[in-house]
Symmetry: C2
Subunit: 344 residues, 2 copies
């Protein structure tokens, strides 16, 4: 159906090798070059990347496996990731794990079958089991956003614990002593953030009564329900730390529907900006992640690995494998107006 280099050969009278050389940027006589270019236009020729990949054994595509593609955080990262990778000449094949570890496993095998040159994974869970196949096959992998405690692959993430520590410190700095935490314990980022919160509370000598610690799913529902319960407490907290974007969403809804107002009756600070902070009134105080840098560093590390694998295949004498990297970027606090001094 589509034109091949053989068609170009017929039209130009040149050999396959010459045409191939043209396609790959070799030197040839200007007249031959012109002939080929004309033929390509006329025939609407397009290189068949499958055939090329079969020969070169690189597909020039990167597999990206995300825990949930409908998640706003995921999309934003995907956007930066894609443009960066594209600049480097790579295609992106994205697979959605829908928060299902089994599907995640399938996705990875699937992409391996597609012979992707590398894998960026935003993992669903805490177990590194899904890493076995790509590692065995020697496919470079970079973990993004969430680490799984496996030192065989690189990882790029933010300082969840420290940033959360600072956030709670900030609440305390405004005089709050009854502070609640709504978070997720189903994902590693949630656990790290919780850790930071607890450390800050301890340092401030603030007790965290069980009723003020709401751990659950990474979901709007969890945020909504938790906030409702907190506000219904006989002695409700005066400030709340919200562990992720979905929880923020739900919690803000709950506050809006209640008789409480923010920040007069209740102060809140959230982790992950995205949209709400701009929308809510007052603007939310949030911990924002450096999304662009997260994506850029991920691509940098991945391409490094790929480059390394290539040189290893070429020369047998390995020029030292790149060291394992766990890159921890700084999330920073941006104050809106959702945290106010505790009322006496």
């Amino acid at each position: 159906m589509a034109a091949t280099i053989r068609d170009i050969k017929k039209v130009t009278g040149l050999s396959l090798a010459t045409i191939s050389k043209y396609l790959n940027g070799g030197n040839l006589l200007p007249e031959n070059r012109a002939k080929i270019e004309k033929a390509i236009k006329d025939l609407h020729y397009e290189v068949n990347e499958m055939a090329r990949g079969l020969v070169t054994s690189q597909s020039m595509t990167i597999g990206v496996v995300v825990f949930d593609i409908s998640n706003v955080f995921t999309c934003s990262v995907l956007s930066f990731l894609g443009s960066r990778l594209r600049e480097a000449g790579y295609a992106v094949m994205t697979c959605d794990s829908q928060n299902d570890p089994q599907l995640e496993m399938d996705n990875i095998r699937f992409l391996m079958g597609k012979k992707v040159d590398g894998l960026v994974i935003m993992p669903v869970g805490l177990s590194p089991a899904f890493l076995e196949p790509p590692i065995k096959a020697g496919i470079p992998v970079v973990l993004l956003d969430r680490s799984v405690g496996d030192s065989r692959v690189d990882c790029v993430k933010v300082n969840n614990s420290e940033a959360s520590y600072e956030a709670v410190k900030l609440l305390a700095g405004y005089g709050h002593r009854k502070i609640a935490v709504v978070g997720s314990d189903t994902v590693v980022t949630g656990r790290e953030r919780l850790e930071g919160c607890l450390a800050a509370l301890k340092d401030e000598n603030i007790a965290l009564p069980p009723a003020c610690l709401k751990l659950g799913a990474h979901s709007i529902e969890h945020g909504y329900q938790s906030m409702q319960e907190l506000l219904a407490l006989p002695d409700p907290p005066t400030a709340v730390f919200l562990g992720n974007f979905e929880i923020i969403l739900g919690a803000v809804m709950a506050i809006n529907e209640s008789s409480f107002s923010c920040p007069d009756d209740i102060s809140v600070i959230g982790f992950d900006d995205l949209i709400v902070s701009k929308l809510s009134n007052p603007r939310l105080s949030v911990v924002v992640q450096p999304l662009r840098s997260l994506a850029e560093e991920t691509v940098r590390l991945l391409l490094n690995r790929i480059e390394y694998e290539k040189t290893v295949e070429a020369d047998a004498d390995a020029p030292d494998a790149p060291a394992h990297v766990e890159l921890v970027l700084k999330a920073r606090i941006v104050e809106g107006g959702s945290v106010a001094r505790r009322r006496e």
Copy 2:
């Protein structure tokens, strides 16, 4: 590096054909089947889809080209699209056009080089120029969300005009006579929605002063600034139609920051739900698009076309090409509390 069927041949002593038959679900002796399965496990064999694709001339991947991947609407659709396509055995290769028609063109050529079996395109602009290459190459294309007035490809979208008509009718039904429209004229959906608004205003004999028609980009900024300007009018509108998600976002921000309150001072209804409607207080009244159906119908049409192309290649006598389809799904209005009766 990775194992091939020749390695399996060596281990099992069977021929390539037998192994290939196994991989493609043919019948073979149980003992041979067992041998192959063992070898596959031992060698961590994985079919090389590039090689397979080269022979079968199908890649079992669908290219998806979106106008902006950081857009929440896009992500939601992508999520449904991906899971549907995956169920059908297809991989998805997503490319982001970043609202740039040139990049869109590049993306399409790029995916054609990857030999995708079909293309789902959420177009950037109004010109159908980008359709030439895939149509010439005989690659099935389905347009999603936005049509470009080209009857050579199928399209799935919602009844933007009618739904907007209903939305404005609803405002009028609440007694509003000073109604403003904030929309986008840079994309076709925006134009269609505007059309519906104007028709409704006309039917209601409501004049639309120039100051109350805010046309601009599909952006948060446009929504924000337009709403600010509307509220600053000597005689501000009592109700506003907001043409898309980004505009809603910006407009709600502007209202929140103003001394106006919704719906007491100003009623609003928006097009595209997504997140805000849940977040804002009161809940927004919105026109919601049937995202899941949009994705499902798109996949259905695309697979139909692909199936057809395959049978055409097999039998020379074409069994009638599927007719051109422009599928228009119904968006429905969900009332929140952001529209109130006009105060006397």
